[in-house]
Symmetry: C2
Subunit: 380 residues, 2 copies
C-alpha cells in the first residue's frame, strides 16, 4: 500500500448547529466577513438568518450573491474584488456547491492573486487561503468538506476542476434543518451526486481504507433514505442523507473521482446542464465500463445497494447497477442523455475535454475519448 493522505475540515453537525457560527467565526479570527450565498437561499430566509446571527454577535459582514448554478470565473473575480475592497479577513458561504465553490475561488484569488484559471488541475495553489467556514444547504456537493472547487471558464466553456489541500475549509457547519427547504428535484439531484461521489471514490485508484469505509456507509445511507427524503420531506431521512453526503465528501475529497465526474464537468461547461442531472444518466453505464477493472469492489457496492435482498455474491456487482437503474426510473429522473442536451453535435468535443479533466486521473480503468463517447452513445 502506497502512502495515502486523509484531510477534512472540523465538522459541526446537527440540528441548530448554525447557532455555533459566531463562535466559529471568532475562532478563525473574523473581524470583517465576506458572506457568499445565492437568491434561492435568500428566498428561503436563510440568508437573513445568517446575517442576523452575525449582527447579533457584533460580527461585521459584506454580502455577495452573484452566483450561477454552474459558477463562473467572472463571478469569482467580482467576489475577490469585493473581498479586497472591503478589507475582509474571513469568508463564510451558505449554499449548495455553487456558492461554496465561488467562496473557495474568491479565497484562492485573495490568498494567491492572479486569475482563477491559473489554478486549474491538482496542487497548483501555493499560498494559504483566508479562513473559510462553509454551511451546506444541500446534501450532495460536499464542497464544505472537499478539496475541490469547480468553476466554469466562460471563454473556453470548460468547467475547471481545481483540487488542492488548501481548498479544505477550516470549519464545516452542517445543519440538516436547512436542507428541508429544498425542492424534491434539488434533494434528488444532490443525493444522486453524493451517491456518485461515493461510488466513484470507492473504486478510485487512490482509494484507501479510510475513504472506503466512508464511501460504503454513504451508499448504504443514500439507498435507505433517498425516497422518504425526496417524497415525504422526512426530516430524519434528510438528516441521514446529510450524514451520507458528508461521508461521501470525506471519501471523494481524499480518494478522487472518475470518468463520470469528468464527463459531467465537460457537459456542464458546454451546455450548463445541472450537475446532479448527469448522474442518473451516466452512472450505470460508467459503472459497467469500469467493471472489468474493479469487479470485486463493484460487488461490495452491490452489497450495499442490494441491502437485505438475497443475491449470490458473484452477481452482486451486476445486480447493484440494475437496482440503481430501477431506482432512478422509479424516481422519475431523466435517464437518457437525449433528455439533457439537444443533439449529438458536440459529444466528441465533450468527451475529448473530459479526458483532460483532473477527475479522469483516478478512474479505475483508463479511458480514451472514444471509450467515453461509447458510454455516451449507450446512454443516449
Amino acid at each position: 500500500m502506497l502512502s495515502t493522505k486523509f484531510a477534512i475540515p472540523d465538522i459541526i453537525f446537527g440540528h441548530g448547529s448554525i447557532t455555533h457560527l459566531p463562535q466559529c467565526a471568532r475562532r478563525v479570527g473574523a473581524k470583517r466577513i465576506l458572506f457568499v450565498s445565492d437568491n434561492g437561499l435568500e428566498t428561503a430566509g436563510w440568508v437573513d438568518l445568517v446575517k442576523e446571527i452575525l449582527k447579533a454577535n457584533s460580527l461585521d459582514c459584506v454580502y455577495f450573491n452573484n452566483v450561477d448554478s454552474n459558477p463562473r470565473d467572472c463571478q469569482v473575480h467580482e467576489g475577490a474584488r469585493l473581498y479586497e475592497k472591503e478589507k475582509c479577513d474571513v469568508i463564510i458561504a451558505l449554499g449548495g456547491g455553487s456558492p461554496m465553490d465561488v467562496a473557495k475561488g474568491i479565497g484562492v484569488i485573495a490568498g494567491n492573486g492572479g486569475q482563477i484559471r491559473d489554478y486549474e488541475g491538482a496542487n497548483q495553489i501555493m499560498r494559504p487561503l483566508p479562513p473559510m467556514i462553509l454551511i451546506p444547504s444541500t446534501a450532495g456537493s460536499s464542497s464544505d468538506i472537499s478539496q475541490y472547487c469547480i468553476i466554469t471558464d466562460m471563454k473556453r466553456q470548460v468547467k475547471m476542476s481545481i483540487i488542492s489541500r488548501s481548498l479544505v475549509s477550516n470549519i464545516s457547519i452542517i445543519d440538516p434543518q436547512i436542507l428541508v427547504t429544498q425542492s424534491r428535484n434539488m434533494i434528488l439531484a444532490a443525493a444522486v451526486d453524493a451517491m456518485a461521489h461515493a461510488i466513484e471514490s470507492y473504486v478510485s485508484k487512490l482509494a484507501s481504507p479510510f475513504t472506503e469505509m466512508q464511501a460504503l456507509k454513504a451508499i448504504e445511507l443514500i439507498i435507505k433514505n433517498i425516497r422518504p427524503a425526496a417524497d415525504d420531506n422526512d426530516i430524519k431521512a434528510m438528516e441521514q442523507l446529510s450524514i451520507a453526503s458528508t461521508a461521501a465528501g470525506m471519501s471523494f475529497s481524499n480518494a478522487g473521482l472518475g470518468a463520470l465526474h469528468a464527463i459531467a464537468h465537460s457537459l456542464g461547461g458546454f451546455y450548463d446542464v445541472l450537475h446532479g442531472r448527469v448522474h442518473p444518466v451516466l452512472l450505470p453505464p460508467i459503472m459497467r465500463y469500469n467493471m472489468s477493472a474493479c469487479r470485486k469492489k463493484m460487488g461490495e457496492i452491490g452489497r450495499q445497494i442490494a441491502g437485505s435482498r438475497l443475491c449470490p455474491d458473484n452477481h452482486l456487482a451486476d445486480v447493484g447497477i440494475d437496482i440503481l437503474e430501477e431506482l432512478f426510473t422509479d424516481l422519475e429522473l431523466d435517464t437518457k442523455l437525449r433528455q439533457l442536451i439537444p443533439d449529438k453535435t458536440h459529444l466528441e468535443t465533450i468527451c475529448k475535454v473530459a479526458t483532460r479533466d483532473a477527475c479522469q486521473l483516478t478512474n479505475p480503468k483508463d479511458a480514451h475519448w472514444q471509450d467515453l463517447l461509447a458510454v455516451c452513445e449507450e446512454a443516449w
Copy 2:
C-alpha cells in the same frame, strides 16, 4: 440529534510515509524542531532514522527523551523548558502514547504557560499550541489523532485527562513499518487499547454517526488481525491494526470514552500499571455493567466481534462479550485484577478518583464509585 463535532488531523498513512516528514515539517513552518521520543525507539533505530531524515533536509532539531510509560508532569515541564531555551517552533514526537502525550503537554505549556495540571479536564486550553507532527510507533493509543493528553500528576498520584480541540496535532504520519519492531506484548497491549477505544466510544453519550462508523470498522479489523499480528508479526495484519487504531482514534477523540478508561487512568496513576494491561481485565465486566443502558449498540458490537459465526440477533450483545473474554484468555493476557495490583487496599480510593476522571462523563450509564468498585471486585 444534538450538535456534534468531528475534528481530526491531516493523516498521511502507508509504508514509507515517514519519508514525508521533512515536507510536513516545512508545511507547518519548522525552523527549529523539538523532537520527542524514548529509549525503546532509540534501541529500535527509529530515532536515528528520524534525526537523519531531518538533518538530510537541513531541518534543525533538539532531542528530548525523558519519558516514562506513564508520563509525568515533571517530564512535561522539563521538555517545555528545553523547548523555550532552545527557541524551538515546532514539536515532532515519535512513539506510543507516552512520547506523544509528553509532546502535547510541552505544546500546552509552550503556548499557554503555567503548569500542566492547570489544564486538567475538558476545554481548559485557551491559546493555540505550536504546530505538532506526531508519528505513532504503536497501533493503539492514537494520541496522534486524538484531542486527549494523559499526564500523571506525581504529587496526587493521578493520571490527568486533558481534553481539548487544541490537542489535535496538525499532521499524523502513520507508517506501519515502524510497528513491526514492537514486541508481542506491546502489540497486544496496543491492539486491546484500540479495541477499548472503539467499544467505549461507540456506546458513549457523545457518539455520532461519524464516530460510530469508525468505531465498528475498528472492532471488525482488530478481531480479524490481532492474532496474526501478535503471533506471526504479519506485516499485512499490522497494517490493518494500524488502520483500526486510527479509526478508533477518530471515534474516541470526538465521542469520548467511558468508565473503563476512567478506572484505567486511576489505576495507572496509583500503581503505574501499563495502560493496555487494564483492558483485558476490565473491558468485559464494564460492558456487562453498561449493558442495560445500550443493549442495542452492544448487539452491533457483538455482530462485529462474532463476524461470520452464526448467532441469533438477540444474543449478539452477550455473545460478543463472551468471545472477547475467550480471546483474551487464548492470547494468554492477564484477565484478573489481582494479576495487576498487589491487594485491594486502595481499590476504594481508585474508584473514587475514577468517578472524577473526564472520561467518566460520557459513559452510557451513570456510575458511582460503589458501582465501579463492584466491577473491580467482579474482575478480582
